[in-house]
């Protein structure tokens, strides 16, 4: 019996606790850092709030009966019920996406609350008929706490968090676009470049948000196009802090907590080589990858992820490292003195040192860059229509092997790429553009939400991170 079924009006399915695992068919929840979900206790007492004698324990409106009788009749009062109900405050208008964390819905406010919202519903650790409280995953705790704390024009804005019916609902401002969707739009039907001014604005806003995160000792650790939102006004908002965490004097080394972070294509070489001490530089590598992807409309290092074996040892991501070496060349200890201290640096010997042929004697990245600009269709001049030489310089300093030498967010923001030509970087990345990007796809079909939420039922047409073949999220130990 579902806890909801006692209610006179049946709540919409999205309040129920089934999750479609179609995207990540393996049952291990790769997002939860806590150990295996608990098996339910054999004793399934019904939740306190279904008890007819149940009194909301902390309602100030509640008038106590005379104390003597109260003390005798008072049933257990530890039960939790939310003071605020999601559906009292928001009207769900459709389903946006699902992932390992749970699902995201689009909603509008009730009672004259203006605006549109994205409601992220966290998947409870346990699936099944009778949902039990099993403890909130560490990743959800981090995201709730950090989003409550942080506030910046280039960070996604949290409206509120509602804890109701054993689920967590994080209500965010709605963003119409994201970088993945924009990149895809430019790939179809034929490839046409994202205007150079838009790329510059996107990158600047992204770095600006990242500078804010890093100066607050927060590592994002999962930057990728799908996690970077863009509002209809062209404002870039960094989203998904599910893997983010503070790095100021952690009680344990950052490595020991989550062994593998960052979706593989955006994962920095020091992580691939098993570094034990990684730094904000991992986020800057990801920014470099995103920059490259905005220009070429394809992931620059599109490796295949080696899966964890049964012993849960983290494999060396040979294929991914190979993709990087093909463009950047083999890392050397001259250029990266810390290389020999990387746990897995000996694995480099297993790689082929083949570097993709550069035209007219140029370095791998340089050759990649100019070929990419040409094939995507950037004009060579005037300077306003091409990312140009400065773009290459910035890119090469973000895709720097040595994390100590890689640009910080602050340094990157001061790069001539943003300041040369006397042009101002717009806070609206769509400024001067004629392209109208399509709105985010939202499933309007209530029935669809209902049926698709049954375990094992595939949803139609709304893949997790859209592009088929994208790696499904990150893995964690």
């Amino acid at each position: 019996m579902s806890p909801c079924s006692n209610n006179p009006s049946i709540p919409p399915t999205f309040l129920r606790n089934h999750f479609d695992n179609g995207i990540t068919p393996n049952h291990d929840d790769p997002i939860s850092n806590s150990p295996e979900p608990d098996t339910p206790e054999s004793d399934t007492t019904q939740p306190a709030y279904l008890d007819p004698y149940y009194l909301e324990p902390y309602s100030h409106n509640f008038v106590l009966p005379t104390e003597s009788s109260e003390a005798r009749k008072m049933p257990p009062t530890n039960g939790y019920t939310s003071k605020v109900r999601v559906l009292d405050r928001y009207k769900v208008v459709g389903f946006i996406s699902s992932g390992t964390y749970g699902r995201v819905y689009k909603a509008v406010g009730h009672n004259g609350m203006a605006g549109e919202f994205a409601i992220k519903k966290f998947k409870p650790d346990k699936e099944g008929e009778m949902i039990q409280y099993t403890g909130i995953s560490q990743s959800a705790c981090r995201e709730m706490a950090l989003c409550s704390e942080l506030s910046h024009p280039n960070m996604i804005h949290l409206v509120e968090i509602i804890l109701e019916d054993k689920c967590i609902f994080m209500v965010f401002e709605y963003a119409e676009h994201d970088l993945l969707q924009i990149i895809q739009h430019h790939s179809q039907p034929t490839r046409h470049p994202i205007p150079a001014s838009a790329v510059r604005s996107i990158l600047f806003q992204l770095l600006n948000g990242l500078l804010y995160l890093h100066s607050n000792w927060v590592l994002h650790r999962d930057l990728k196009p799908a996690n970077i939102m863009v509002t209809s006004k062209g404002e870039v908002r960094i989203g998904d802090l599910g893997l983010a965490r503070l790095f100021y004097k952690p009680l344990h080394s950052l490595f020991s907590g989550d062994k593998v972070v960052v979706t593989i294509w955006y994962r920095a070489p020091e992580l691939l080589l098993g570094s034990k001490h990684y730094t904000p530089a991992v986020d800057l590598w990801a920014v470099g990858c995103i920059f490259a992807e905005l220009l070429s409309l394809r992931p620059i290092f599109k490796g295949e992820e080696a899966k964890m074996d049964s012993k849960k040892t983290v494999p060396f991501q040979k294929n991914q490292m190979q993709k990087i070496v093909e463009i950047l060349g083999m890392p050397t200890k001259d250029k990266w003195p810390g290389l020999i201290h990387q746990g897995e640096h000996s694995q480099l010997q297993t790689l082929s040192s083949y570097v993709r042929e550069g035209n007219n004697g140029k370095s791998g990245l340089e050759s990649w860059y100019w070929n990419t600009l040409r094939s995507t269709g950037y004009q060579d001049s005037p300077p306003s229509v091409t990312p140009g030489q400065q773009g290459l310089d910035l890119l090469s300093k973000l895709l720097e092997y040595d994390p100590m030498k890689r640009l910080s967010a602050e340094q990157a923001l001061q790069h001539p790429y943003f300041t040369a030509n006397g042009e101002k970087v717009s806070a609206n990345c769509f400024e001067g553009m004629s392209t109208q990007y399509p709105s985010r796809r939202v499933s309007q079909d209530d029935n669809d939400i209902r049926t698709s939420s049954l375990p094992g039922t595939k949803r139609n047409g709304f893949p997790d991170d859209s592009l088929a073949g994208r790696p499904t999220k990150r893995m964690k130990d």
């Binding site: 850092n33 806590s34 150990p35 608990d38 339910p40 206790e41 004793d43 007492t45 939740p47 306190a48 324990p57 902390y58 100030h60 106590l64 005379t66 104390e67 109260e70 003390a71 008072m74 049933p75 257990p76 009062t77 530890n78 039960g79 939790y80 939310s82 003071k83 039990q132 409280y133 099993t134 403890g135 909130i136 560490q138 705790c141 981090r142 709730m144 706490a145 950090l146 989003c147 409550s148 704390e149 942080l150 506030s151 968090i161 804890l163 054993k166 100066s215 607050n216 000792w217 927060v218 965490r245 503070l246 100021y248 004097k249 952690p250 009680l251 344990h252 907590g257």
Partner: protein, 302 residues
Amino acid sequence: MAANYWASTQRRHWQYSRETLAEIRQKLEDDDRALVQQYPLPDRRLLSHLFNQQLAKFGKRLSIRQQAVATAQVYVRRFYSKVEIRRTNPYLILATAFYLACKMEECPQHIRTIVSEARSMWPDFIISDVSKLGECEFYLISEMNSQLIIHHPYRTLQDLQNTLSMAQDDTSLAWSIINDHYMTDLPLLYPPHVIAVTAIFLALTLKPTQAGLQAAASTAAALSSATPMPKDQPGSMNGVPNTQQKKVQNLVSWLAEGEIDIKAVVECSQEIISLYDVLEHFVDKICKEQIARFVKARGLDK
């Protein structure tokens, strides 16, 4: 903000004036007057001492570092500024706060581990059903509005120990004074750096003996008149070794040129000194019995 105390939710939402905090508590008690009268409880500081002891024990059993224990204590204090304690099972709240604090301080423990430890510590008050603790976690987070990042004074202490050329002994004494301040309302009243400076001040003056205590009192008096202490104030440093006196001078001149609210440091010092007085009257058994009375009578342990 995460690293910036000034923009943090701690400062914006969880730092009260004494008056406001008193009003909030009064309202909680007024709303439950009958309950409050029926189940008297000892001084809040004595209860906090019990909680402190229990959480420290919990932490030790699982080898969890002090900062997570401190975070749990702040959670408990915040929670009980929103919810009347007699409506809860304090042991369940302690265990839940500890569970949540471990996750937030990046030393996560499995919920089963927490529940089984809690059960062995408080067998009469914790049942083995993990969902109870999971439910309580929702309650805790909800009352704290998901504002879970806590700024502690330990960081300031570490930053200042060199500036003020503190010896290892001084630092560890200041550290344990910080540990003790979680038994008072100071975490809800003052910014962490003020607490840290208070702890340093007390560590330097309290040490090593009762004579130091008097020194503290008179230094506090000197500070509260907001002038740097005269170098040869008669009798004030009676019995305090010379080097110690120098360190205190150091601190006082550092305070004089800094932007630390000296009045706040004085108030905090007095609060902590009176805490040590109150703790003389702590009787573990009485606290436990008084808690057990309402928990058992109201079936809050089920």
